[in-house]
Assembly symmetry: C2
Homo-oligomer: 372 residues x 2
């Protein structure tokens, strides 16, 4: 509110406190009132270091006074790049999507970026051309993709061709560290395996997701590795291939539970399939966890709606979204100071609820904590 601005505030604008325009203020208003060129205002907006600090302060004061906020459309036009972040996904699980979006929005909060959502079907014949049109038309600032979309190498080859920055979140290292966030599904599955083994289960089953999701193999691999670390092996007879759907979980569950030597514990590639196993157990007259231990993956809200509440490997969905967005907005932040791998890694954790117990007649042994 320095009085120097008296002159700048002519043209019907009152000086000091009440400086207010009827229309939204533009960079020209700021420049005029601060008595500098719009180019200098632009420098302040874009945090150029080449502005005298007095000048910067004066401009910032006027910006605040006016409540000026640069028009993202105009900036985008001049920059040849918009301030829109695209979230491309094909995951059918609503709570997964909404949580990830929430994380992205956390990172975008108070920025001038907006989140544009774009569900898409990788199998559609127009998939790639649709994505090309989307990115080109909107001149997207960048794109964030979750599994299984993030696993589509053709898509990201296209993004590189279009010069569109992206971040892929996946359970497998698929790209340069700067372009992805790695979620260690492997670890989470291994933890589930160790837990099941510690409870004393030996006839242990696994229901995998579909082969079109890389996480299917990763979760299966992690589970097998976890069992192995406890001296068990994952018997192929106890492995079923599901499709990450409730129905497939039900089918695989029925198949497993009708075996002569049925498993006493089932690890499911996700919670939806675990819900299917619950249904199959119910139909077979088996009680969870007394007769059957079930562990899920995702830790979706469903876990607490089922009875008994389902133990599940929690994916840090919100963090995944937030970190992906942060990486997109600050690509330089990834240049680590030292030589360590700048790859961002996130870790799932097993959430214990009431769907697990030792197999009938077995007292749980704590192999890892109590050496025999």
């Amino acid at each position: 509110m320095s009085s120097k601005e008296g002159r700048g505030a002519v043209e019907g604008l009152g000086a000091g406190e009440g400086v207010e325009l009827r229309r939204k203020p533009t960079i020209n208003d700021v420049a005029r009132i601060a008595q500098v060129s719009k180019k200098t205002v632009s420098r302040v907006i874009n945090r150029s270091p080449f502005v005298k600090s007095e000048t910067r302060d004066k401009i910032n004061e006027v910006i605040e006074q006016l409540g000026f906020s640069p028009d993202p459309q105009a900036r985008g036009l001049a920059f040849r790049r918009s301030f829109l972040i695209g979230h491309i996904y094909d995951n059918p699980n609503p709570s997964y999507i909404v949580n990830v979006q929430q994380g992205i929005l956390d990172a975008l909060y108070d920025s001038s970026f907006e989140l544009v959502v774009r569900p898409a079907d990788r199998r559609s014949p127009t998939f790639l051309s649709d994505m090309r049109a989307f990115v080109e038309r909107q001149k997207l600032f960048g794109v964030i993709a979750m599994p299984s979309m993030s696993e589509d190498d053709d898509l990201f080859a296209l993004m590189r061709e279009l010069d569109c920055p992206y971040v892929r979140v996946a359970a497998v290292k698929l790209d340069e560290p700067g372009r992805m966030i790695l979620v260690q599904d492997h670890e989470g599955a291994a933890e589930a395996a160790r837990y099941v083994a510690e409870l004393g289960h030996e006839r242990v089953a696994f229901i995998s997701g579909p082969p079109t999701f890389r996480s299917s193999e990763v979760r299966g691999g992690g589970f097998a590795a976890g069992l192995k670390s406890q001296g068990l092996t994952l018997d192929p007879r106890y492995v079923r291939q599901g499709a990450y759907t409730f129905e497939s979980g039900l089918e695989c569950g029925e198949s497993l539970l009708s075996m002569k030597e049925r498993p006493t514990a089932i690890f499911c590639g996700n919670d939806e399939m675990a819900a299917g196993v619950y249904r199959a157990a119910h139909a077979a007259g088996l009680e969870i966890p007394t007769d059957l231990t079930v562990i899920g993956f995702d830790d979706s809200p469903l876990t607490q709606r089922l009875w008994p509440p389902l133990s599940s490997v929690r994916l840090p969905l919100r963090d995944m979204g937030r970190m992906a967005a942060e990486r997109l907005l600050n690509p330089e932040a990834q240049e680590s100071e030292d030589d360590s791998d700048p790859l961002t890694v996130l870790h799932p954790t097993l959430i214990h609820r009431e769907s697990s117990a030792p197999p009938v007649g077995v007292t749980p042994k704590k192999r890892t904590t109590q050496p025999a």
Copy 2:
């Protein structure tokens, strides 16, 4: 591909088939090649009727040939209005959100509009100023809101002040017909009531949503009206106020089921609360539907994960999103030809599953179909 364009396609561009620019074509390229002014091209883009049809055809041909698509940012800047639709919501139910978004995207498909998502908290002290900044900064084309966001009169007063078009989807007539989509929650709840009455239930309970959602009273009112039509009354002793959450459903369920004369049927304001009632019934050692009939509302995926599968009133979420977006994009479409009310109305329907049965010892009577 008329050969007249030979001249237009100079500057290193091959004529005919392979006309291709290295950069994205602009309105100037189209104008030059079609040998008209860019203003005329603009007229074609904007479907102005004042273009000779030959001229229009020629221009459209060039547009197609070049694969030209106008830059939404540049148009937005000139129009002083973007091509972004904001989806503002506070509903915590992910499947609700995702389904509505899918509907909105259906309507936006192949348009140059994009969907920008914006969860927000009505109770936040900065709520209105945040919304103002969002709308002003992005110069939103329009906004779509679902309950309870859609019920916030202050928000839409602001939208009118900002001259931002909007569509409110709600269970109550809150605005002019052109600015809203009405969903008859009342009807769906009444249908549930009639069904329960026909099964022979007389001790019938209702768990409502929170008073901050208008749908809470509407669903309760519809249910009471439906019972009344069957000669029953909704006894206030059997009414509980929940919060549309699983936990609140559990609490209210426990409260109802611990009554000396406990209800034999419970209608829940949404599926989440119905899941809570399932849990309460389980804890009380009651079996659904033998000992207790439960009906939900929303018809979320949860209905099929619960055991037994939950009967529920289906909300046409995807249609709600689609119609709201269509109304926003074609405000003129609502001017009905005749004098009939142009208000768009959608109707929920009861989906029968296995959570309902006659009360113990009662043979269901078909009051509506079979007059005694």
